[in-house]
């Protein structure tokens, strides 16, 4: 059987122009001239040229493939590590107030919460220990210089920031394994990232304190003064220089004890006002014998010359209510100024006359909700005042229903703990991610 292209014309013949070199020719030895000729013949042979080229270039091609695949994979794993570290830092930053409220300057809650969210994002079973307890460090963030200083190096006891470092290290037995890295004796890489969260953002933390100046709360007036001063110090020292501060006193009605002013530039004057804080009646204080109505205080704090002003839009606005939590209705006709309407535009009052204690609590809750709609966070601080011991828990719980936004509720901090406890108020500010390295 013949292989032909056309009838009578063979596909191959002795006249085939393809070069033919036998192995014997290639291996054979001869004189210099014949060897030279053979070498030229070999070099001029184009057979298997592409295969040879591919063979030579294959490591380079694989190298580029490694760059493409492993590069994308490393980017992804680095992203996961960064996000897990950020989640841990944000979680730790959110409970930084526990350092102050622990009573022993303990960081246990912060470390525990940070690790909880690190593991939630990068489970230990799959990724090893990414955030070790020793990699969660408390310290202080300097917004002006954008630097973090650990408590260990500063010797301080007032942290405002948490630094968390996430690691994929061969020394921790959790490096990132590469797909093609074995081909280049680089099977795994180490990754490290650090995230710092802090509430020391340099941003304003406008604060209006509502002090209960009713007769029933007079036993706690000294504690109110100490609390007011600690909060003022916190606002002035740990927040932005433009933070405003005010005090509204309440009985059944409100009275402005201190107008809303810039805390940093009016610090001395406001401190004097706080020292002069007293129970009802007298200049600047609401009238006695009218009960206790928190709604009136919140209502006043949201009027247009305070947090109702567009000036405060987009800033951190905080109302801190200090009372024994007892809504105490009085037998007089309540007006809009007493906070009987849920919103400024509302025409349906919760009650006007013959109001009950329950009505007053509902009014306060309505006012708190309205304030929150303006972006105001509400915190509550309960002191027992003259409340009977068996009713304190219920009143504290009742007061806590007014908490809104990022506010917190504190119950009867002891006099010895006031300074350290109220330092935590600045720690109630939402932590923000300050740096990722």
């Amino acid at each position: 059987m013949s292989i032909v292209t056309r009838i009578g014309e063979p596909l191959m013949s002795d006249t085939d122009p393809c070069p033919r070199v036998s192995l014997r020719e290639l291996a054979g030895s001869g004189d210099v001239r014949s060897r030279s000729m053979r070498m030229r013949r070999i070099l001029s042979d184009r057979g298997a040229g592409v295969t040879l080229l591919v063979a030579l270039l294959f490591p380079i091609l694989v190298g580029f493939a490694m760059l493409g695949v492993d590069g994308a994979y490393m980017y992804y794993r680095n992203l996961m590590l960064r996000q897990a570290t950020q989640a841990a830092a944000l979680a730790g930053g959110n409970v930084i107030s526990s350092y102050y409220t622990s009573g022993t300057n303990s960081s246990a809650t912060i470390v525990s919460r940070a690790q909880q969210f690190a593991v939630a994002n990068l489970p230990t079973a799959t990724y090893g220990t990414v955030v070790a307890a020793s990699d969660i460090v408390l310290g202080n963030w300097n917004a002006a210089t954008a630097t973090f200083t650990s408590l260990a190096s500063s010797g301080g006891t007032s942290p405002n920031a948490v630094s968390v470092t996430g690691r994929h290290l061969s020394t921790s037995n959790n490096p990132v394994s590469l797909f093609l890295g074995n081909m280049y004796a680089n099977p795994a890489v180490n990754l490290t990232t650090t995230a710092i969260t802090s509430y020391a953002t340099g941003q304003s933390f406008h604060t209006i304190i509502i002090n209960d100046l009713s007769s029933s709360f007079s036993p706690s007036i000294a504690q109110q003064r100490a609390a007011d001063q600690a909060i003022l110090d916190c606002v002035r020292n740990s927040t932005g220089p433009l933070s405003n501060f005010a005090i509204v006193g309440i009985t059944g009605h409100y009275a402005i004890w201190q107008n809303l002013v810039q805390a940093s530039t009016n610090y001395a004057a406001v401190t004097t006002k706080i020292a002069a804080l007293r129970s009802c009646d007298g200049t600047g204080a609401p009238a006695c014998g009218t009960g206790s109505n928190v709604a009136s205080g919140i209502y006043r704090a949201t009027k247009s010359d305070m947090f109702g002003s567009a000036t405060f839009n987009g800033t951190s606005k905080n109302i801190i209510i200090i009372t024994d939590g007892v809504p105490n209705a009085s037998n007089f006709t309540y007006t809009r100024e007493d906070g009987i309407y849920p919103t400024p535009s509302s025409t349906t009052a919760t009650c006007t006359s013959s109001c009950t204690d329950a009505n007053l609590l509902a009014m306060a809750q309505n006012q708190a909700t309205y304030a929150n709609s303006l972006g105001v966070s509400i915190s509550t601080i309960y002191y027992a005042g003259g409340t009977p011991a068996n009713q304190r828990a219920a009143y504290a719980a009742s007061l806590a229903t007014l908490r809104r936004g990022t506010g917190i509720s504190l119950v009867a901090p002891s006099s010895g703990q006031i300074s350290s406890t109220f330092a935590a108020f600045c720690a109630t500010m939402s932590s923000k991610l300050m740096a990722v390295r």
Binding site: M1, T51, V69, S377, T406
Partner: protein, 162 residues
């Protein structure tokens, strides 16, 4: 001319270098193409996964800070809320899932599961997609039948639910 017979002809074919480059190209183009397409497919998978991961954290952050208070099922009013939906044009900027879906390729179907749990308290956003749907150039079918998921879990801040 005398036609060559079988054995002699085969021997001659083996020795012939005519069109050798074409034959070699045909032999090498297959692994090379697989290598290139495989690289493209794998890179697209990780690229998409990275985008999903970024979106998951973004949506979780929006929900955890209270900037977004709704899921695709409506305003969150209970202490534990969860919703599962697919990315589509019906999602609005008031819904957490909207931020999980922003910028994801339209040629694949992405499923978003969002949970807010006030007990922990945490927010979890998980985005999943069929890996084969995003692995363009996956001629070997290595990614077919697999599902990849990006997940982000953040602590819920402030009041909850809110």
């Amino acid at each position: 001319m005398t036609p060559r017979t079988g054995r002699a002809g085969t021997h001659g074919l083996g020795r012939c270098r005519r069109a050798a480059a074409s034959v070699e190209f045909a032999l090498t183009v297959v692994p090379l193409t697989l290598l290139i397409l495989g690289g493209i497919a794998a890179t697209m998978v990780f690229q998409t996964l990275s985008t999903m991961q970024n979106n998951a954290q973004y949506a979780a952050r929006m929900l955890s800070t209270g900037q977004i208070k709704s899921l695709s099922t409506g305003l969150i009013t209970t202490s534990t809320a969860t919703a599962t939906t697919t990315c589509s044009g019906t999602l609005t900027a008031l819904m957490a899932e909207y931020y999980a879906c922003v910028g994801l390729p339209s040629y694949a179907t992405f499923t978003v599961t969002t949970t807010q749990n006030c007990t922990v308290p945490n927010v979890v956003v998980a985005i999943s997609v069929s890996t084969g749907a995003v692995a363009a150039g996956d001629v070997s079918g290595s990614f077919v039948g697999k599902t990849m998921t990006a997940r982000s879990e953040l602590m819920k801040e402030g009041l909850c639910p809110s």
